[in-house]
């Protein structure tokens, strides 16, 4: 077995060992986190204040007036449709 081969084997042992160690730790940390949250945190957190400058990117492409009219039209259509 040449030098590269032994380096590769060393790398595999260290690497897979570390990857498993890291992700096993993460499994337990995640379980712990979920447990702590479900115990201490309120189930539905208060919505934090939105930053004022973050105006919504995608403006409603239909103006509110029209939108309401459409809604009414649909409601009317549906009520008729049911009959």
């Amino acid at each position: 077995m040449n030098d590269l081969m032994s380096q590769a084997v060393d790398l595999m042992i260290a690497g897979m060992g570390f990857v498993f160690a890291f992700l096993v730790v993460l499994v337990f940390a995640t379980l712990l986190m979920s447990k702590l949250i479900s115990r201490f945190a309120p189930p539905e957190p208060a919505t934090p204040a939105r930053t004022p400058r973050a105006k919504p990117k995608a403006p409603a492409s239909v103006d509110p007036d029209t939108a309401e009219a459409i809604k009414k039209a649909i409601a009317q259509f549906r009520s008729r449709h049911k009959k």
Binding site: M1, N2, L4, M5, Q7, A8, V9, L11, M12, A14, G15, M16, F18, V19, F20, A21, F22, L23, V24, V25, L26, V27, A29, T30, L31, M33, S34, I37, S38, A41, P43, P45, T47, P48, R50, T51, A54, K55, K57
Partner: protein, 436 residues
């Protein structure tokens, strides 16, 4: 006359013809076959541009000056690069090789001087050379892509069933197994690799584009073209590579295992999870900090709910801009002298091995977990641990549906799927730590 002697037709070399054909092949695969087009269209196009004869788009100013080989320019460069060449000496092939070799071996101070001199003589850096330096040379490109991927990733399924992280760990055997495979090829005398090259090739098994590009830019930049092409091509081929392996390693009964519905995951868990990952990185693997740090940052922006405009930009404008430049930059490394090499064939061959080994390891790990635990998981979701988000998860779902038309595995497979992204980033950190 200058127009003719400077034309492509007059100067084109056979290697460039082949590389341009490969560029068109990549475009064909991307456009007609749908192979990861977001990356392979820019990579293929960049590969064609990099091989336009005499254009020098992928070369630095000094490399362009050396290529043009004007005696007075070479004389000036000779002093900067410490090559023995006197003004007026005949420019033979050996002289050219001496300059190219000296440039490759030059220190950063010598490079700065040589490129400055070349610019004084009117030569400039090629467009693609500049893109590569800024986007990949600085490592910023793959990291920003990773940030955007983080902002697109939903860890919900993983949080509902954290055990699936282990499947993402097992699938990284594809990475290290491939390193071993490269070492084996070297031992058998078939190909020559250094440990750095072997590690960079192994990362293909991570089945994650930005991680592959990041690692190979750090460990073996000269292989980045072949590695990136291999990684993206096999990611596109996941629906063909994985199913036979998955079926060979599982019984029909195993494939029919129904998994219980995932529990709902709270907003807080989603916000805090990227911070938990970050703490683990802080404590255990600083070398994974750039990759996983940016990934967690992107995911935190997504989940925290107060910076939608940043999250949206990270997922759209920014990642798209970086993707264009990253693809062209990777393409700039598709040059004949680096790509048309037996190593490339080895990389392509090892790449498919990497995907296969990763798939198999994930499935086998799932079977092992079923042995050790009462709560049964369908081993088909193990293959999703290789990453290749979200393709591998869809493959798990599809093979599962073939065995049992009522068995929807997609959400269950998303857990190991994103775990695989974390797993390969950890593996990348380990390799960088131990080797660089």
């Amino acid at each position: 006359m200058t127009l003719w002697t400077g034309s492509g037709l007059f100067n084109i070399e056979i290697g460039q013809v082949v590389m341009i054909a490969i560029g068109f092949l990549l475009l064909f695969l991307a456009i007609r076959k749908g192979f990861e087009p977001l990356l392979l269209v820019p990579i293929g196009f960049g590969g064609i541009l990099a091989n336009i004869p005499e254009a020098g788009l992928a070369l630095s100013a000094a490399e362009n000056a050396i290529h043009m080989a004007k005696p007075e320019v070479l004389a000036a460069l000779a002093s900067a690069l410490d090559v023995s060449y006197q003004s007026g000496q005949v420019v033979t092939a050996e002289v050219m090789d001496a300059f190219k070799y000296a440039y490759k071996e030059a220190s950063s101070a010598e490079l700065a001087m040589a490129n400055g001199l070349a610019q004084d003589f009117g030569y400039g850096n090629g467009m693609l050379y500049n893109f590569y330096t800024v986007v990949i040379g600085s490592t910023v490109g793959p990291l920003l892509i990773f940030m955007g991927v983080g902002a697109m990733t939903d860890f919900g399924p993983l949080l509902a069933n954290p055990k699936t992280l282990l499947l993402g760990a097992a699938a990284q055997f594809g990475i290290f197994g491939t390193v071993l495979g490269a070492a084996l090829l070297d031992w058998l005398g078939i190909l020559d690799f250094t440990i750095l090259e072997a590690a960079a090739i192994g990362i293909i098994g991570g089945a994650d584009g930005p991680t592959s590009i990041y690692v190979s830019s750090v460990l073996a930049p000269h292989l980045i073209g072949a590695i990136a092409v291999s990684a993206y091509a096999y990611m596109a081929l996941v629906p063909m590579i994985q199913p036979p392996i998955m079926k060979a390693l599982t019984s029909p009964e195993e494939r029919k295992i129904k998994m219980s519905q995932l529990r709902p995951v709270s907003k807080q868990e989603k916000i805090i999870f990227p911070l938990v990952v970050l703490i683990a990185v802080v404590l255990f693997l600083p070398d994974a900090a750039p990759l996983l740090g940016m990934f967690c940052f992107g995911n935190l922006m997504r989940e925290c709910g107060v910076v939608e405009r940043l999250s949206d930009t990270a997922q759209n404008a920014l990642i798209n801009i970086v993707t264009i430049f990253l693809g062209l930059s990777v393409g700039s490394k598709l040059m004949a002298d680096k790509f048309l090499d037996p190593q490339t064939l080895g990389i392509l061959g090892l790449g498919i091995v990497a995907f296969g080994v990763g798939t198999a390891s994930g499935v086998l790990m799932a079977k092992l977990m079923n042995k050790l635990s009462k709560e049964q998981i369908n081993p088909l979701i193990g293959s999703a641990g290789v990453s290749a988000v979200p393709m591998a998860a869809r493959v798990s779902n599809k093979v599962g549906l073939e065995a049992n038309p009522q068995n929807f595995l997609l959400m269950h497979a998303m857990g190991p799927n994103v775990a695989g992204v974390i797993g390969s980033a950890v593996a990348a950190g380990v390799m960088i730590k131990l080797l660089s």
